[in-house]
């Protein structure tokens, strides 16, 4: 089966600003693929190149095996949910949603019916005859979604389509979008800077920063096996510690932490020398005599969890999460504690 989108070494320059430095990605057919990264990393630029609004400075993009460099946007079987919606201000909501179908020469009755279905799906049936200016931001965003889905594109590009929704609605829409994607089999390329959104919805994620793809993988791969400091830090919360690898044997490395503690961790091809170690806060526990000795500095109540900030002997802070439960004792600030690091929880990074 051919891949939906294949991006080979795509470079995008605006004058002397380079927005993308040689991005290569393969997005499979029927996949829910997410581009995740901080603001300004080039997510929108990449989507716009796929949709055809920006030309590719270098490299190429293939859509179902076909090089689309010379294909105008209106000939690409791709629809976009724009970051700023771009709803046609002079058309009613239903006319907006039906526009793509009208352009595809679908008969009036059929397109009205389909547009009404789409509005129902985004819970906006009651707003069909309003103008976009008479809707809230979140409602406009859902109209944009309905409009892009109505013509059943082969690939749907979604540029932060849930960013304007409140938490409840966002969570509901996540589930619905995922369901919709599975039902329709449309390839979704979803842009977000919300890592939770990316982790919960995606088949695979590309983590981007400053115009580079840092890592591509499933949610679990990216969370549990980040390849570098950027990914480890950007996805979830983590403790990044500068360490020195003393010896490597049989895939295990012995490292020294700041303050002189020694720890055995899995090595991923690193040699002897200075590296960084990532330890997820939820994968450490307080014990009487653990791997590390620390002093509790602060305890912050977060509802489901408590965040404990402890300091190693040299003062390096370590964050850990304790479940909010009667069975977990809450340490008092100033108390000396031992920290147990789960096997496999500490990950040596390639920088």
């Amino acid at each position: 089966m051919t891949d939906a989108v294949e991006i080979r070494n795509a470079v995008k320059r605006y004058g002397n600003v380079t927005a993308l430095h040689g991005v290569s990605l393969t997005i499979r057919d029927n996949e829910f693929f997410t581009l995740l990264g901080p603001s300004g990393c080039g997510k929108t630029t990449l989507l716009r190149m796929i949709a055809g609004f920006e030309d590719v400075t270098e490299g190429e993009i293939r859509l179902f095996g076909q090089n689309i460099a010379n294909l105008e946007p209106n000939h690409r079987p791709v629809n976009t949910v724009f970051q700023h919606y771009a709803l046609f201000p002079h058309m009613s909501v239903i006319d907006n949603v039906a526009f793509g179908l009208k352009m595809q020469k679908v008969a009036q009755d059929a397109r009205r019916k389909r547009a009404a279905e789409m509005l129902e799906m985004v819970h906006l049936s009651a707003f069909a005859d309003r103008l976009p200016a008479q809707l809230s931001g979140g409602q406009q965003q859902r109209v944009a979604l309905a409009r892009a889905l109505a013509p059943s594109p082969k690939v749907l590009l979604l540029d932060e389509p849930l960013s304007a929704l409140d938490l409840k609605l966002r969570q509901a829409m996540r589930v619905e979008l995922k369901q919709l994607q599975e039902d329709t089999g449309i390839t979704f390329i979803f842009v977000t800077h919300d890592q939770e959104e990316a982790l919960t919805m995606s088949d695979r994620i590309a983590v981007m920063s400053a115009g580079h793809v840092q890592q591509i993988g499933t949610a679990q791969e990216i969370y549990e096996a980040p390849v570098n400091r950027f990914v480890a830090d950007f996805i979830g919360e983590t403790n990044l510690l500068p360490v020195e690898v003393l010896s490597v044997r049989d895939g295990r490395a012995e490292v020294t932490l700041p303050g002189g503690h020694r720890l055995q961790v899995a090595a991923a091809g690193q040699g002897i020398g200075k590296h960084h170690l990532s330890i997820r806060p939820e994968r450490m526990a307080l014990t009487e005599a653990g791997d590390l000795q620390a002093v509790v500095d602060r305890v912050v109540y977060l509802g489901t969890d408590r965040q404990v900030i402890a300091r190693l002997e040299d003062g390096t802070p370590l964050h850990l999460r304790l479940q909010n439960s009667d069975r977990v004792a809450v340490p008092a600030p100033g108390k000396r504690v031992g920290l147990a690091v789960e096997a496999g929880a500490a990950r040596l990074l390639a920088d």
Partner: protein
Amino acid sequence: MAGPGSNHAPGPGSWRGILVPLLLPTWAMIGIFLLLPVLLMAVYSFLTKEFRGGVEWEFSLAAYDQFFLNRGLFGDEPPTLEWTYITVFARSIAQAAGATALCLLIGFPTAWFIATRPASSRGIWLFLITVPYWVNLLIRTVSLRFLIRENGPLNDALMGVGLISEPLQIINTNMAVQLGLFYSYLPFMVLPIYAAVERYSFAYSEAAADLYANRWVTLREIVLPIVRPGIVAGCILVFIPSLGAFLAPNLLGGAKNFMIGSLIEEQFKKSLGNWPFGAAVSMILMTLVLIVLFVQARAATRQEVR
């Protein structure tokens, strides 16, 4: 929806105390220099004419009678509809419409071109559009007359290049008048359209292309409806002064192409002098203009309410 129309008072009552004296000069100016002359015209149109210009202060419908009714050479036949002046009006409307169409045809692409330049160079382009307007309209119209006359530079050049063998008869035609009006009022078309296109977000065009619309359909279904207020404003700003213009028709159109403006002007000349009739023609013209504006305003409101 809250908008400029919603009537939230800007603050406590003390504001009003300042606002009234501040607005007083404005109201006075409008009253004295705008409404009073119109009122004067309205009154004059119902007075009796005095020979050699001027009016006698005696009520009369003679001016309107002269405009609409034909009572024969000696005024004793049963009245029929008088076509002379209605024909002048019809011709003026046609000429003004032609000039407006010409302005739109040239003005829209011009405005589009300027609005899509980088922000830094738009000012220069707008400046260039307005440069000719620093010269008096009369002088410009006379120059145009010189340019397009039978053995003027335009015909010389065209014959020199070999495009034509006989000089083109442009002067003293309807086309010359439209050309003159076009030249007089082009910026009134360009500027409002420019303002509308400049505010237009090309994200809409991208969204249309994303939804399979080609360029032509995008222009028709997305761009034009969105910038429509600018186009309508431009058309009104060109059409209305064109309707009452007299320089271009007088200097370029020749005797048989004269328009309302010339008709009115004639009435206030010493030799012919029929002030009430001139005033009546002005009032009829103004009524016509007000009807156009009213219809347009109604259409615009309906569009917004929709």
